[in-house]
């Protein structure tokens, strides 16, 4: 019996305690907090009116909850409205380039391409993401493509419904504004880059190594002629001899000996090696790399990298023949010319053997 009465006493105390508690309930902590909204950046690649465009979407969350979805609402305007293509597969996403994002922004983790859904009626596109433990002081961004995704409104249109960017953690989202202008592009022109072609001669005279030609093949020391041009097609050099010779070939001429040393080969045929014991005369050319723009090519009729061949130019009555060329704009391209003479025992002795070759060039604009 005592236990029953004690139980009744405890129950009564509980009831009284409950009554007293009700007096203090209003003072007990009972806080319901509203979540802070995200921050957002929406940048369009094209701000021109009624223009197809892609762009970038960035979210700075206000909680560290995983961002599993980003819902973008584009504005609704009173004039020509934004158009959201309703085919979600058009809304492809990328994480590069990043230069069009706010400073310090990073790529949105787990961004899925294409978007999960797109609806022009609500101007809403939903993107699936998986950004775990985001920082509340960092923008997380991704790009969306421009092919059949979004078309801008008319210029200066006032939204009746502002755009917003929401996430799974903040369904209210951050509102943003866009600026649509009549023209967002400028055409940059340079009316002309002036044409340039120059040739420079290291010297205007070139002598044989010794004043007395030896029997056999003799080469002069060689002098370089350099060409420079900004012609897109490059440049060409041509040359011909000055003495009028037999068969219109260049010749090494002595007035005193009434002698012209000439080659047996025809003009502008492939450079040939010297044949011992014969008289021969012509030029040889070698080339070297330009300071910029490549290395010129010596024409096969005069190319003698080892100084063992020579080619025959025309004389003053003949044509200029190409000796070297380069097919691109280039700067300071050296072509070295050597006089090459071969004498034999029948070559008359004289001290006035001479020849002048004329070298010309042109840029191919």
């Amino acid at each position: 019996m005592n236990r029953t009465f004690a139980k009744a006493g405890r129950l009564s105390l509980v009831a009284i305690a409950a009554l007293i508690m009700q007096l203090f309930i209003p003072f007990l902590a009972s806080t319901a907090t509203a979540s802070s909204p995200n921050h957002a950046v929406v940048r369009l690649d094209r701000m021109s009116a009624t223009m197809a465009t892609g762009g970038s979407i960035c979210v700075m969350p206000q909680s560290s909850s995983t961002i599993s979805s980003v819902t973008v609402v584009f504005p609704t305007t009173s004039a020509t409205d934004f158009v959201v293509n309703g085919t979600n597969t058009n809304w492809t996403t990328t994480n590069t380039p990043t230069s069009g994002w706010p400073s310090g922004a990073v790529a949105m983790g787990g961004i899925v391409t294409p978007a999960a859904s797109a609806n022009n009626g609500t101007k809403t596109v939903v993107f699936t993401t998986n950004q775990t433990t985001p920082s509340t002081s960092t923008y997380y961004c991704f790009n969306f493509g421009s092919s059949s995704t979004l078309t801008t409104s008319s210029a200066g249109a006032t939204p009746s419904v502002y755009g917003s960017v929401a996430t799974n953690a903040d369904t209210t989202g951050a509102q943003y504004s866009l600026s649509i202008v009549a023209s967002d592009q400028l055409a940059l022109t340079a009316t002309i880059v002036p044409p340039i072609f120059t040739m420079s001669f290291a010297a205007n005279t070139d002598n044989f190594a010794t004043n007395t030609l030896a029997l056999g093949l003799n080469n002069s020391t060689g002098k370089a002629v350099s060409a420079s041009t900004n012609a897109s097609g490059g440049w060409v050099m041509w040359a011909r001899g000055s003495n009028v010779g037999t068969s219109s070939k260049q010749s090494l001429k002595s007035v005193a000996a009434s002698k012209q040393i000439q080659s047996a080969s025809a003009v502008n045929t492939a450079a040939h090696p010297y044949s011992a014991g014969t008289e021969d005369y012509g030029i040889s050319t070698t080339t070297a790399a330009c300071t910029s723009g490549g290395t010129p090519t010596a024409d096969p009729a005069y190319d003698s990298a080892a100084d063992t061949k020579l080619g025959v130019l025309a004389d003053n009555t003949g044509a200029f023949y190409r000796v070297a060329a380069l097919t691109s704009a280039s700067d300071t391209c050296p072509v070295t010319f050597k006089f090459v003479a071969g004498i034999n025992v029948t070559t008359p002795a004289a001290g006035d053997y001479t020849d002048t070759i004329t070298i010309v060039g042109a840029g191919l604009f």
Binding site: S99, Q185, I192, S232
Partner: protein
């Protein structure tokens, strides 16, 4: 026979005694209630509660801005507080609240209620200046200093383009709380971003910028420059971006290019952009983005096929403006042509 604890018996006896005491053979209290008894919380450094004299009536003197319990004698009572509620800078997500304490003591506490429908529904401004659906004592009550004194406090986390209504009540100690004071209201603004693009010669598009004839081996300034205007109330400012279609000045006829570079065209060839002449009417500052575009003389930043920020602001700005100069230096092997060109695109965004 009912058994009970000693304590419960005493409690019941006290209740019974209270219920029956106020009468004797020669008098009887016809009406009574608990008055403002006790000493805990009835004083502070600036006020004290003198005495309890009981109430002559259970009715109260009320007005639109006050309520007085008759018969009580207060040394210092909480005074109803008024508020000043403004949107001083076209805020879209916050508003400035200033408490006007009147003659309230410095240790009076104020709680603020807020609503978007003139208190059909009521929320409260929390201690972190966001909005909550319930009011917590004492956490959400603050002194005048706690509410920012004369400078006020920004209530944050608000919805753009919405009228907010606020009112406040005062507590002095635990026994003196006023009703809510008068309601004041103000609206948040809409988020805004306004960008303007012109040149020094053209107020409307299509826009062209010409270099004229380029001098080889030297830095050449374009004959025109781009003018940008920028204004936003975005909380963290924003950026103006620039990109080129090709990343170079290109000649279709020759295939020649002058690539865009970041560098000093006094010594390197190429072309690029330089931001300059930045100003603002208020806020900002509107600045040239470093380090590529804020050079001087012939230093330029690259205009690539990707957008790069050329101007920026870290805060809302009104009347932001800047110019973009373009410079080019061809080499002596840049193919000669009269059709070098590039298409520039300007983009902009606000950090809302």
């Amino acid at each position: 026979m009912v058994m009970m604890s000693r304590g419960l018996l005493h409690l019941i006896m006290a209740v019974v005694m209270f219920a029956t005491m106020p009468s004797s053979t020669s008098y009887k209290l016809n009406n009574y209630s608990f008055g403002n008894g006790g000493t805990a919380g009835s004083t502070s450094t600036t006020y004290g509660l003198n005495a309890v004299t009981g109430e002559q009536s259970t009715t109260t003197q009320t007005g639109t801005a006050y309520k007085e319990g008759s018969g009580n004698n207060y040394t210092q009572n909480a005074q109803v507080v008024t508020l000043t509620f403004t949107n001083p800078s076209t805020y879209y997500n916050k508003l400035l609240l200033v408490v006007n304490p009147g003659t309230n003591a410095s240790d009076a506490l104020y709680a603020v209620a807020i609503s978007t429908d003139n208190f059909t529904t009521t929320n409260y401004v929390k201690s972190d200046n966001t909005i909550t659906s319930s009011l917590t004592y004492p956490t959400d009550y603050r002194t005048y200093a706690g509410w920012g004194s004369a400078s006020g406090t920004l209530v944050i986390g608000l919805i753009p383009n919405t009228t907010y209504y606020v009112k406040a009540k005062t507590i002095q100690g635990k026994y003196s709380e006023t009703s809510y004071g008068p309601v004041v209201s103000v609206a948040t603004s809409v988020p805004s971003l306004t960008v303007g693009i012109t040149t020094n010669l053209l107020a409307v598009g299509p826009y062209t910028i010409s270099f004229g004839t380029l001098v080889i081996g030297a830095s050449n300034d374009a004959l025109d420059f781009i003018k940008i205007t920028y204004a936003t109330n975005a909380e963290s400012g924003g950026d103006v971006y620039i990109a080129g279609q090709n990343g170079s000045l290109s000649s279709a006829r020759t295939g020649g290019t002058i690539p865009s570079v970041t560098g000093n065209l006094s010594s390197v060839s190429g072309w690029g952009a330089q931001g300059t002449s930045v100003t603002q009417s208020s806020g900002g500052p509107f600045s040239v983005t470093a380090p590529n575009y804020n050079g001087s003389s012939n230093s330029v930043g690259q205009v690539s096929t990707s957008f790069n920020s050329i101007f920026n602001t870290t805060a809302p700005v009104v009347g932001g403006a800047g110019s973009i100069l373009l410079k080019a230096r061809p080499t002596n092997v840049t193919p000669a042509a009269g059709d070098y060109g590039e298409t520039l695109t300007i983009s902009a965004a606000g950090r809302f």
